[in-house]
Amino acid sequence: MRRVLYRETHSSRAAVSVAAAILVLVLAAYGVLESGVHAVGQPAWLIEPQVAAQRIVDLPAGISPLLLAAIGAVLAMLGLIFFLNGVLPGKRARHLLAGAPGEGLPAVVVDDEVIASSLARRARLAANVTPEQVMVVVSQRQVLVNVRPTSGIPVDQDRVLEAVRDELDQMLLEPAPVPRVNVTASGVIGA
């Protein structure tokens, strides 16, 4: 089950892997064609392997440096994409829901967007503003609640923070984010 949870909170490399495999497949197919043709003594399809190797050996000559640099840059870029895809952790914007002990909750994975909309609803009720005046950003370790008060009606920052913290405590997210409330100085007119 731990493996499954890891799967769900980290992004899949399947698409990039298929692209890489197809790239290698095409190159290998061309190599098979040329070397097979060469082995039976037929003329080459695109370029004789020996000629190609000789061209590679005296490389900076025989091709314009600008083109060579461009080809190199494209290859390096492609390599960097594959390399970073292989090395970076690739965490998805998701949290685990631990659930209260003894409740027997199955493994639950929640998108950060769902958490944000739930927290926004709670913060909106605590601040007594319309849904458009609250914006919540949920990241791996932090929850940022932005409230734009209705002009003339002050918003109690501590009350909003209390409400958001209470909601987070009930959710028991893993890893647990720290809430922060930010009440903007300018208000909204006529909300």
């Binding site: 499954v4 892997s17 070397s35 050996v57 490389l59 390599g79 994409i81 292989g86 659930g99 909750l105």
Partner: protein
Amino acid sequence: MNSTPAMLNRILLTVLGLILLGTGILLVLLAAVPSVASWWHAWSGGVWAGIARLFDSTRFPGRPESWLWIVVALALLALMGLMVAWIAQQGKGRSNLLAAEYDPGETPGDVRIGGGVAEQALKQALEGRPDLAGATVTTYDVKGTPALKVRLLPRQGVAPHLLAAEVSGLLHALESVVGKEVPVLIHIGAGARTRFSRAERVR
């Protein structure tokens, strides 16, 4: 949740990425730095001479071609086979069986419960809920044991922990019907359908 070989994907991607990155940087340096070009001439010239000698010493008797070409072609064919196998490994793991048990009763034979039972039952139970914009249930095969994945799309503002608790009640009921504990993953997600649908107001 499927059995995509995550570790293998990472390793192969890293190796391929490093090879391409190295080649690209070498080409750029060849074009830009003259001293690299002279080093490259010396080094690659030596390597190429060695390979050419190898090809010369492995000719077919009486013919100008080397049998090494056939070896190269076979090796590349093997590489192609490996790549096809790698692609075939991606995203496998959906299954159709929820439980299979030997029936110790008087009638000989096994009892098998298909994944459709859980999928249909849960879908039916979740259909009328006003706080859900959609729900899908799929059966997976995780290392030989069947597992369920329940994907819920709640409307905006629904508390995920309450939703999870209610759905887990349904799952317990399902387990008691099937008579077997099934590992379950609940994924509470967001999509275009939940983003543009109205928020749930009364609950």
